[in-house]
């Protein structure tokens, strides 16, 4: 495998992620994939890749990368003030890098996770249908682990040569709001909770604790009162499920979650709002707003339509 870039420092937690590993949850293997699929998709579209192509996901503090082979890149998601050879590079826009360039990210000033897409994608093996890193299982990505200093990753050749045209850009998503209102669909086990508990859940603001990671966000705030125990006979845990622990605390389950679990789930964050949660940092706040399943579906379709529109716009202009 030829080298496209060398990791000089990995940052806090940088891993290879694509749109996820489909079809293995029944065996107990999490789907993984980018926590903020929208930002990954935007970065990919800007460099002419398919939405779910593998890129790098950097968390809180980004990496420093030395470029060995020229390519076109795009960065979306959290603002980590990326610099090429000390000069700021545009975000939410395609730009070219040359051999010898050093691309350095700092700490996130807004948002939590930045996505770096490379035209053509990364030259890493597909394991069980995906290049996503599953850190718990040591699967996919680069040897199943987070990046570390000295790692080298090759680029794949883009299907068509790409111009780093400055018009290949999209508007920034703003993650700096003090409170993110996350839309949820009630259930599947909301009947385990008292009216009082449900009102507390929808009326309160919750804070992300330090124990928030790719598996899930552990929240701090008013206890959600249950009718009895919150233990259930294990069933599947969907993306965005909000489990209530026996202590009454909500945990929102994300891409590296356990596939099954035994806590009652009061509600599920809608897929269009998972990126907002993925971009919250420990200490930041969220609140929950109940919507109908139809409204959730419209939000998901709207998301898909916006990405298709961005792709069309770039194709027409260039």
């Amino acid at each position: 495998m030829s080298s496209g870039l060398i990791v000089r420092r990995p940052g806090l937690l940088c891993s290879v992620q694509d749109s996820g590993r489909i079809g293995y949850q029944s065996l107990g293997i999490a789907s993984s994939g980018a926590l903020d699929l929208r930002s990954l998709a935007i970065a990919n579209i800007l460099v002419g890749n398919s939405d779910g192509e593998a890129g790098l996901e950097a968390c809180l503090v980004g990496p420093e990368l030395e470029i060995e082979v020229g390519n076109v890149l795009a960065i979306a998601g959290a603002d980590m003030e990326p610099k090429r050879n000390g000069e700021a590079v545009p975000q939410y826009a395609a730009f070219a890098v040359e051999p010898g360039d050093v691309l350095a990210f700092g700490a996130a000033v807004s948002g939590c996770r930045a996505y770096i897409a490379f035209a053509g994608g990364l030259d890493l093996p597909i394991v069980m249908g995906s290049r996503s890193t599953n850190l718990k299982c040591g699967l996919g990505g680069l040897e199943g682990r987070a990046l570390k200093a000295g790692d080298s990753i090759g680029f794949r050749v883009p299907l068509a040569p790409l111009d780093p045209d400055p018009r290949r850009r999209d508007s920034r998503e703003d993650f700096s709001a003090p409170l993110a209102a996350l839309r949820v669909v009630a259930g599947p086990q909301d009947e385990y909770f008292t009216q009082h508990g449900i009102e507390a859940f929808y009326g309160a603001e919750y804070r992300l604790t330090e124990r928030s990671d790719r598996m899930g966000c552990v929240l701090e705030g008013p206890v959600v009162e249950a009718r009895g125990k919150t233990d259930i006979v294990s069933d599947g845990i969907p993306l965005g499920a909000i489990q209530i622990t026996s202590g009454g605390r909500p945990i929102v389950m994300l891409a590296d979650r356990q596939t099954t679990g035994g806590y009652a789930k009061i509600a599920t964050v809608i897929s269009a709002d998972i990126p907002l949660l993925a971009q919250r940092r420990p200490g930041e706040k969220v609140a929950f707003k109940k919507v109908s399943i139809e409204a959730a579906r419209r939000a998901a379709l709207n998301d898909i339509a916006q990405r298709a529109a961005l792709r069309r716009k770039l194709e027409l202009r260039l």
Binding site: I22, G23, Y24, Q25, S26, L27, G28, I29, P125, V127, M128, C137, L139, G140, V185, A186, G187, P188, Q189, I232, V233, S234, D235, G236, I237, P238, L239, G240, A241, Q258, T259, T260, G261, K265, T268, V269, I270, S271, A272, I293, A296, R297, A299, A300, L301, I304
Partner: protein
Amino acid sequence: MPKAAFRPAGDRAIVASFGDEISEELNVAVMALDRSLAENPIEGVIETVPTYRSLLVYYDPAKLRNRSLARELDRRSRLVPTGAARVGRTIEIPVRYGGAYGEDLGDVALHCGLSEAEVIERHSGREYRIYMLGFLPGFAYLGNMDLSLATPRMGTPRQAIPAGSVGIGGEQTGIYPLVSPGGWRIIGRTPLRLYDPRREEPIPYRPGDFIRFRSVGDDEFEAIKARVDSESNEGASP
């Protein structure tokens, strides 16, 4: 036939729940619905997660609506005949019981008032239904252990239980497919590599299959282990 209730699990999944208990009857119904989706796929269904008593069905909201999917799942769950024919495979798992590979075998025997040989005979002398996989890749939740073998979990879990370890935790038995912390009593180990992401089938069994443990001696354990190691080296990339 148990009747399913359908609840939304966000905008990309629906859960068909057949009840809230651990029973073979419920699990048979779950597996029958899961099999129906495998044999006659619904356009837009992405994947499923069968558990003790429910089936989580992931779908693409651009292709399916929650209500129409629930209706179709309901129709299918009613079609499944009672006492559906057993279709799961039986997977034989060779186990070296006791000794260095099963250091809690003596404690389990003592707790149950049995000899070590009796524990081995009762543990290996039956088929276990795989109700579900979860917790770790390939961690199988097995049903119908001989209750005379029930032994409480360790007071303090071990930090690292070796891959392939076979354990008893309360009234349950199972295998650790990966090195993992855990509190179950370890009574033996299989030389098989249960989890290998490079294999066509990364886990050699699925929910709904059956497992039968077969007691093997040191020589056979080593022979199987040598074969497993050489096969996996052949598959390794240079």
